[in-house]
Every structure is written in C-alpha cells, then in structure tokens.
C-alpha cells in the first residue's frame, strides 16, 4: 500500500483519548495484583507457626492445654487456613486489623498513629530528595563527560554503596553525639516533647533517607536527561531554530520526564525498606520500628497488618508517579520498567 492510502495507525489499546484511562486501568490492576501477592505471602508466611506456639507466645510458656484450646478458639485458629486468609483480608479492607496476641490491644490503635509518622517521614524525604536529585542530575547531564560530572557520578556511586544504617549512624555520631545538636533518641521527643523537639526528631531520620535516595534519583535523572539531550529530535529542534532553552525544557525534558518519574517511583519502593531500617536506627516510633519489633516478639497479627499497610502505601505512591509519567509522555504509557 502506498503511504497515501495507509490508514493512520492508532496506539495499542484503542483511540487516543481512551488510552490514558486504559493504561491507568492496567497499572491499577497490576498494583492490586501486587498487593494481593503481598497479602498472600504475608499471611501464609506468618501462619507457619503452629497455634500452640502462638498461644505460648501470647499467654506465656507454661500454659495448660485447656488455656491453649481456649486461645485457639478465641482467635479462630482451628479453621482452615484459606478461610482464615479471606477473613483476615476482608477485615483488613474494612479497617479491622485484629487484636495483637502480645499486647492484647486492637492493632489499629497502635498502628494508625505510627502510619501517620512514617508517612510524614516519607513525604519529608521525598520533598527534599527529589528536587535535590533532579537538580544534581540535570547539572551532571549538562556537563556530561567533564571532570565535575565524573566526580559527581562517582560520588553518587560511592554514596549509594553505603547501607542506610551506616549513613544514619554516621549522622548520629556527628550531629547527636559529637555536636549534640540533635537528639539521640527520637522516640522521647515525639512522644512527649514540644513542637520543636518533635521536628528535631524528624531531622536525622529524614536526612539519612535523603542521603540514601539522592544518588539513585540523580543517576537516573542524569541518564534520562542525557539521552533526551543527545536524541535526534533534540538536534532537529535546534536545527528548526528553536531557542536552546526551550529545546532543553520543552522538548528534551518532556521526554526525560517519563524515565525520571519511573525512577522516582522505584525509589519510593526502595524507601519502604529504608524507612524500616532508619526508624530502627533512630528508634523512631513509626511503622518500620513496629514491624521489626513485632517480628522479634512473634506478634504475627501486627506483622500482618503493618506489612500490608506499608506495602499498600508505597505501591499506591508508586502508582501515582507512574500515572504522572504516562500523562507526560504517551510513549511511556504502556511500559513500566
């Protein structure tokens, strides 16, 4: 067929206006599937302990068989696993996180304020890390191949090699122990302190997470911007006489935005692990600290709830970033790194 008769193609998935929704739908489905998988793994892994072990953990080592039986009945542990799974899932979705074996309190009471703090910590991190990462990435890309670019890049590589707790401890050592500027123990400040004490409690954990996140965002930004700047359409735009500044921001960056946002979305997932670690380093009373503590005490119900909450939060944030990436660049819509 000559090109004159060739029909104008449409993207996969239908007409152009529909495609944004179509792809968003796909992402939503895939997010839900992931959550489902997390729920499955969480529930079944934590259910590996026998009811007797759980009873002992809850009530103490020396319990009678009768007590054990009562415990099992109370928590419906005698029902088939699959049924319990659906019960749990249904409850979770309704906001009922169950009652902990260990604390004997509804999990919801302890977990929700922690969720708030962890969210705040994450948001504070993103608010600082993303602009810094973007700025350094763009700077580096514009100086691609120069010494300053190489230095920044190697710096980022080395920094990314440090585990978060090492970074955290270093910051703790310098700012809390040596300089005594900030509190060693965040927990106290948050629970009882004034507003300024509360804010101070956030500083070191946030700083640690920022230092851990910036290299990743920077390196991805650098590569994405570089590719966009070196792309043929950038040269074509320059040759059309479009002013350089506009070429960089309106044409090139638009194409770089997609991969950059994908990287940020990925970083959000990494932050999930980072938050868990950092909260433990600073004894920060968030979800991460609770999770580790609960694993230690064998508080499986809390573990289940916290794991799901953490997973859901981070996956949703990541989903939002992916959607934003798709809005900016139609080619990226269908793909997900």
């Amino acid at each position: 067929m000559s090109d004159l008769q060739a029909p104008v193609e449409t993207t996969e998935g239908g007409a152009r206006t529909g495609s944004v929704l179509g792809v968003a739908g796909r992402h939503l489905v895939s997010a839900l599937v992931t959550l489902l998988v997390i729920s499955l793994i969480t529930f079944f892994a934590t259910s590996l302990k026998s009811p007797e072990q759980l009873a002992k953990a809850s009530l103490g080592r020396y319990i009678t068989p009768a007590q054990s039986l009562a415990f099992v009945k109370e928590y419906h542990l005698n029902r088939p696993l699959v049924v319990r799974y659906f019960d749990w899932l249904a409850n979770f979705v309704r906001g009922n996180f169950g009652t902990s074996y260990i604390t004997h309190r509804p999990v919801r009471l302890d977990v929700l304020p922690r969720l708030e703090r962890t969210l705040l910590l994450t948001l504070a991190t993103l608010v600082v890390a993303v602009p810094v990462g973007l700025a350094t990435g763009v700077l580096s890309a514009r100086r691609w191949g120069t010494r300053s670019d190489l230095a920044m890049n190697i710096g980022a590589v080395v920094l990314s090699a440090f585990p978060e707790f090492v970074i955290g401890l270093f910051l703790l050592l310098v700012f809390a122990v040596d300089l005594k500027l900030l509190p060693v123990d965040s927990g106290q400040g948050l629970a009882f302190g004034t507003l300024s004490a509360q804010i101070k409690a956030y500083v070191l954990p946030t700083a640690t997470l920022v230092v851990a996140s910036v290299p990743f965002i920077m390196r991805n930004t650098r590569v994405a911007v570089r590719e966009a700047l070196a792309a043929p359409y950038t040269r074509a735009a320059v040759l059309h006489g479009i002013p350089r500044r506009r070429v960089v921001w309106h044409h090139a960056m638009r194409n770089a935005a997609g991969p950059i946002l994908n990287a940020v979305a990925l970083n959000v997932i990494y932050l999930l692990a980072g938050v868990i670690v950092v909260e433990n380093v600073f004894d920060f009373p968030g979800l991460g600290q609770d999770l580790v503590a609960s694993v230690g005490t064998g508080d499986t119900i809390t573990v289940q709830a916290v794991a799901m909450l953490l997973g859901a939060t981070f996956i949703l944030v990541s989903l939002a970033t992916d959607a934003l990436a798709g809005a900016l660049n139609p080619l990226v819509r269908g793909s997900r790194q």
Partner: protein, 302 residues
C-alpha cells in the same frame, strides 16, 4: 581489476588508525581508575576477612578480657564492648558472613534466575511470557518486607536468610539475563545455527552464552553489592546473625547503645561494611560503564 581483490581487502577495519582491538571486560575495567581502586579494595577486604583473624589478639567470644566499654588502649586497640570483649578481635572475625552469605545467595539466584532467563529467551513464545510474568509479580515485592515476613514465619537462621535473598534476587537477575539473552536470541546468527540443526545445548552454550557473559557478570557484581547491603541490614535489625557472633552488622547494632562511650565498637564494623560494599560497587559500576560504551571497544565476553 588493477590490483587483486584479496590484497585490497586485507586492509580491514583493524588496520585503520585509531582502531582499537576489542579487549576483554576484565582488562577494560582494570584500565579505569575506578575499576582498579574497586578491585584493589576488594582484594584487601577479602584478605582482611579471611586471614585478618590470624592477627587477632583475643578470641572474639572471650568476655571480660578487659574493662567493659573502655576506649582504645595499648592492650585493646579499638577498646572493649559492654561485655568486656576485645573489639579489634571481634572485628577481625566478623567480616566473613558479611560477604559469604550474600555471595552464596546471589550465586544461587544467578544460577536459578539465569537458567530461567536463558530458557525464556531461547524458547520464546508462551514460556517466555510465563517466565516474564512470574518475574514481574515477584519483582515488585519489596525485599526487606519479604525478608521480615519470612523471618517472622520461619525464624532467623542462615538458611532463611539465604532463601530470602535468593527469592528476592532470582527475578531481578533472571530479568537481566532474559534481557541480555533475548537481545542475542533474535540475532540472525542464532537462526543460522538452528538452520544448521545445532542442538539446543550448543545454541545456548556456544552461541548465546559467550555473548551475554559480560553483562551478566557485571550484573552479578552489582547484585553481590546489593546482597551485602541487604544481608548486613538484616543482621543489624537482629534478623540475621545472632549473638555471640561478631558479624559486623550485629556488632553495629549491639554497640549502638554505648556509642557515646566507645564509638569504635560501632565505627569499626560500620567502616568495614562500607569498605566492602564500596569495593564491589566500584567494580560493578566500572564494568557497567565499560559495557555501556559499546561493543566496538569491549567484547561482550569476559
């Protein structure tokens, strides 16, 4: 023709000025400062964690060999911890698990993931789609979350840690192998091999594998680094090595409580972890950089 075809064609690309013969990845890495520093540091750390213990003045588990939480002194170069144990000795003994556990797990993950990835790339069709789907599902699960959940259910032990790390990295490494092998599998020389009636074994081992060795090994180095960070973090959280082990991660968390009094008990293992991780990261990064430069300089083989 005035001159013989043969003579003129002798002037191949290789003779032109500025042309550089392809070199192996290893040599290319060694040529960069980054690669040399990384490899050097890695060798040093390997020596430290293997034979360093021969220089330890005390046993790592011997308690009360000195006053507790004492600063550095002649007898105890890095001071002592809360149980009066010599920090230096504990440090010299504590590095092997930091490397060996991730190394074992990542190697296992490479073998399994690599096999699946190669299979998917070579067979194509529904096998490829299935493997890719499975990988995708597991890829999204955050590693630490999975680890915590598994430990909650199965308890802490080396086996559980290795299992967790393997499960987490199989899809990641598998995806890389699948990608690299996939790019090779669509090349015409693979079709040419099949049209010769070559066995699958031949195609995978002699045609595909030599061409993916470079990228795969470079990814392996990278994931060993990730593994190191991951495993040591688990130890730090108390989910990995257990007392009285002087595993560096555990050492850091054990001594954090008295960091104001003898920071060395925390700083020494933290530095050790950092050095190990940085070493492997530099090597992996140098390798990736060389590969990204393109095949005109660096052969994809090792």
């Amino acid at each position: 023709m005035s001159t013989t075809q043969a003579e003129l064609d002798l002037v191949s690309v290789a003779e032109e000025p500025g042309y550089q013969r392809p070199i192996s990845l290893f040599r290319a890495v060694m040529r960069t400062a980054e690669g040399r520093i990384g490899l050097g540091l890695a060798v040093f750390m390997l020596l430290l964690i293997s034979v360093g213990r021969l220089a330890a003045p005390f046993s790592p588990t011997a308690i009360n060999v000195g006053p507790p939480i004492a600063g550095p002194s002649m007898a105890h170069l890095l001071g002592t911890d809360d149980l009066g144990r010599d920090v230096l000795s504990r440090f010299l003994y504590g590095g092997d698990t930091v490397l060996l556990v991730p190394l074992a797990a990542v190697t296992l993950a490479l073998v399994i993931g690599g096999f699946l990835g190669l299979l998917a790339a070579y067979r194509g069709g529904w096998v490829d789609r299935l493997v890719a789907r499975v990988f995708d599902v597991f890829l999204v699960i955050p590693a630490l979350l999975l680890a915590l959940v598994l430990v909650a259910g199965l308890g802490t032990s080396v086996v559980v840690i290795v299992l967790t790390v393997t499960v987490v990295y199989v899809p990641r490494l598998g995806r890389i192998v699948r990608g690299a092998a996939g790019r090779i599998a669509v090349q015409d020389f693979i079709v040419a091999a099949e049209l010769r009636g070559e066995s699958s074994r031949w195609v995978v081992v002699r045609e595909i594998l030599p061409n993916v060795a470079g990228p795969v090994l470079s990814a392996y180095a990278l994931y060993v680094t990730y593994g190191i960070i991951f495993v040591v973090t688990l130890s730090y959280l108390g989910l990995g090595a257990q007392p009285p082990s002087s595993d560096w991660g555990l050492m850091v968390s054990d001594s954090q409580a008295f960091i104001s009094f003898n920071p060395w008990a925390t700083v020494a293992p933290a530095l050790g972890i950092a050095a190990m991780s940085v070493a492997f990261t530099l090597v992996a990064d140098a390798a990736n950089r060389q590969l990204a430069r393109g095949n005109d300089r660096v052969g994809t083989g090792v």
